[in-house]
Amino acid sequence: MQEEVINLIGSTLEIETKDITNKTNLVKDLDLESLDLVDLVVAFEEKYNIKILDQDIKNFQTVQDIVNYLEKNV
């Protein structure tokens, strides 16, 4: 799951994935902006056919957070 997530991040945002780990912080380490986050959220919604609520987005601090969320809701 973790690998899938990292790859999706890489392809959606068109960035390198080799240094991304589960501990990577989206904002602090990857320098992601709101637009990037929304982009990611929509990408995840499409791939896993889920609806991600706005208020959940603030919990996506690290890659691990996303993995946990998906594991719980997919």
């Binding site: 902006e33 709101s34 637009l35 706005d54 987005i57």
Partner: protein, 145 residues
């Protein structure tokens, strides 16, 4: 009232400090848990935004939100961030970017970030948005009267 400062930089902290430098206010800047700057005990408000190479800082005597975004057209995101009426009006990248910066400037004004839900931001009936074009970017300031 507000004033916008725009600079080709990614270091917003230094940028802000350089603006305040002249008046020896540098050392009084504090940052809250979200990294949002403020001056301890003082009623002046800042908001910062960056996109690609540019950073914009808005300074005001009241709550304010600002967002800058490079020209973009992400059709895919429209359903997530906009309502039907707004979607109908988006014909090109200019419309899309203007819509985005309006929405963002509002949630930044609130200080709530994305958890507010961009779809909840009404850009049709709310007239407090001030959008301006800057090179290949759009900037929006949100401020209530």
């Amino acid at each position: 009232m507000y004033k916008l400062f725009i600079k080709k930089t990614k270091d917003s902290k230094s940028f802000l400090e350089s603006i305040l430098n002249k008046y020896h206010i540098k050392n009084d800047i504090c940052y809250n848990e979200y990294g949002k700057p403020y001056i301890k005990g003082n009623p002046i408000y800042f908001n910062i935004s960056h996109s690609k190479e540019y950073t914009v800082i808005a300074i005001s005597d009241q709550e304010i939100g600002v967002d800058i975004e490079h020209l973009t057209y992400k059709k895919k995101l429209l359903n997530k961030i906009a309502n039907e009426e707004e979607i109908k009006a988006i014909k090109n990248e200019h419309d899309w970017t203007k819509l985005w910066v309006k929405k963002e400037s509002y949630v930044k004004y609130l200080g709530m970030g994305l958890s507010y839900g961009l779809k909840n931001v009404d850009t049709i009936n709310n007239h407090n948005f001030r959008v301006k074009k800057y090179k290949k970017y759009y900037i929006c300031v949100y401020k209530e009267k």
